[in-house]
């Protein structure tokens, strides 16, 4: 996104459904309930939606399935699939479509029943041909190898990784919507079942059901809705590979590029950001993205997160809903980074509401550290 699109669109509705376990519901049921929740939040109806931005873990044409299910015939559809980052990426295409008049009400939506459907990751994608014979366990083997390399190059420790999970849990404990709210210590994480060295099951995101949706309109009518508008100030995408064996530097993600461009578009710096919502599929993600987005130097992410520095009361509020590690992770988490960032700015976060938030960052990750999308959201005061 370029500076010309800064503040041209706004989020006027956000909602979710099916958090935790959505017994008896299909992924599309959860998707539709999420859409209704976000539209209700905006005071709009499904019949108002003329732009649909959607992908799902099942089917090869999920956006068409979603439009059919919802009973709408959008003028504009974007079903680009870059994994969990897709829903942050749609902020760019929705802003472009709204700005160009290709649609007037954009609905970004996702739903999944992956916990009650099988308890394992549901995916329509096949393992890459040159990796499949070695039986990596997707996606954890990929993230484990990134963590191993970061530990090797920078001395990052398992304790520091564990502290990411502990911080996420501390935020979740104050969020009634979060799925995991029990106590969690560093020792609990370190002593949990090892799944893919160096990551234990507590270094891994949850497997839950759930869906989320946001509604966007052009900025010129953003103040005509019940909730305070949250403006898209900048958003940018970058990708570096699809297969983990093709990642050039296992310790540097394309978030370095997506972040730099999103900050430039928004005209702000990491020091200006008051709440950071990152896609934490695994504990190593939070460390990598804090480094690559410029909140700390490369290699210093471990020390940056250590001992509650990103927990409530720490130096930087990160994943204030509890993140994918403790709040919700229904296959793809990206949309929840946007929802939590928007709610912090609006002042109606379900858990800990930070004071006077004007600028928040949402960052989506897709594939195996493959796709990175950064968005910077702001209140009316930031225009």
């Amino acid at each position: 996104m370029t500076t010309e699109l800064r503040g041209k669109s706004a989020i006027v509705g956000a909602g979710h459904a099916g958090f935790g376990e959505a017994h008896g519901l299909t992924a599309y049921d959860v998707m539709a309930q999420s859409a209704l929740a976000a539209l209700g939040d905006a005071g709009l109806k499904l019949s108002d939606v003329d732009g649909l931005f959607c992908t799902m873990m099942e089917d090869s044409m999920p956006a068409l399935m979603a439009a059919e299910y919802l009973g709408i015939q959008p003028r504009f559809i974007d079903g680009t699939m870059s994994g969990g980052s897709s829903f942050v990426n749609y902020l760019t295409s929705a802003t472009m479509a709204l700005d160009a008049g290709l649609c007037d009400v954009a609905l970004i939506v996702y739903g999944s029943n992956q916990r009650t459907a099988s308890g394992r990751l549901v995916t329509a994608s096949r393992p890459p041909a040159y990796e499949a014979p070695y039986n990596p366990r997707y996606p954890i083997s990929a993230y484990a190898m990134a963590a191993a390399r970061h530990m090797h190059e920078y001395g990052t420790t398992r304790e520091q990784l564990a502290d990411v999970a502990v911080a996420a849990r501390a935020w979740a404990q104050r969020n009634p919507e979060a799925f995991e709210r029990g106590p969690l210590t560093r020792e609990d994480v370190l002593g949990a079942r090892m799944v893919g060295d160096p990551l234990t099951v507590r270094d891994c995101c949850l497997v839950t059901d759930g869906g989320g949706a946001i509604v966007m309109v052009r900025a010129d009518r953003a103040r005509d809705f019940p909730k305070a508008p949250v403006y898209v100030l900048g958003s940018a995408a970058a990708s570096s590979h699809r297969q983990i064996s093709q990642m050039k530097d296992f310790t540097v993600t394309a978030a370095r590029d997506s972040g730099a461009r999103a900050f430039a578009a928004a005209g702000v710096t990491p020091a200006d950001i008051q709440a950071v919502e990152l896609y934490d599929a695994f504990t190593i993600n939070t460390i990598l993205f804090l480094e690559d987005l410029g909140f700390c130097a490369k290699g210093e992410g471990g020390a940056f997160v250590e001992g509650g520095r990103i927990a409530p009361g720490g130096v930087l509020p990160v994943n204030t809903n509890g993140g994918g590690l403790s709040c919700v992770h229904p296959g793809m988490y990206g949309i929840f980074t946007v929802i939590e960032a928007a709610r912090q700015i609006r002042g109606d976060a379900p858990g800990i509401q930070l004071k006077d938030i004007d600028l928040a960052l949402a960052h989506g990750n897709g594939g195996v550290l493959s796709s990175q999308v950064t968005a910077i959201l702001g209140s009316q005061n930031t225009l």
Partner: protein, 125 residues
């Protein structure tokens, strides 16, 4: 695959015959992996096949934990060959947890999931 034509077919046919061939660009002289119809570095389309030297180092590694009754733990790693290309594989002949980053390894053609595959063992000496 006697009449192998495409890059993937040519690589797999060589592997079935016990040979590891790597694609090398005639224009920029760089190797690449996986095999494809163009060079990902300079986008040239003149590609030759070279016998792999077989020497490399473990770039990064993990142990996939699996219940003993399902076959037990195993190694998954990414090896960087001396030719400069990386591939996913596993190191055999030592415990999966003893595979470490930067360990020198030597390639051999073995079998994985019932198909011929490039595997590695610790280099001697």
């Amino acid at each position: 695959m006697q009449d192998a034509k495409g890059p993937d077919q040519l690589f797999q046919r060589a592997l079935a015959e016990g040979e590891i061939l790597l694609p090398k660009c005639d224009d920029c002289r760089a190797y690449h992996f996986f095999p494809r119809v163009l060079c990902p570095h300079c986008h040239g389309t003149a590609i030759s096949w070279k016998q792999a030297g077989g020497k490399g180092r473990v770039h990064t590694t993990t142990v996939v934990r699996r219940k003993p009754e399902r076959g037990g733990d195993y190694n998954v790693c990414v090896v960087e060959l001396d030719e400069g290309v990386r591939m996913m594989s596993r190191v055999e002949g030592i415990a999966p947890g003893e595979v470490v980053i930067d360990m020198p390894v030597t390639a051999f053609v073995g079998e994985a999931e019932g198909v011929p595959a490039v595997l590695f063992k610790p280099s001697e000496g």
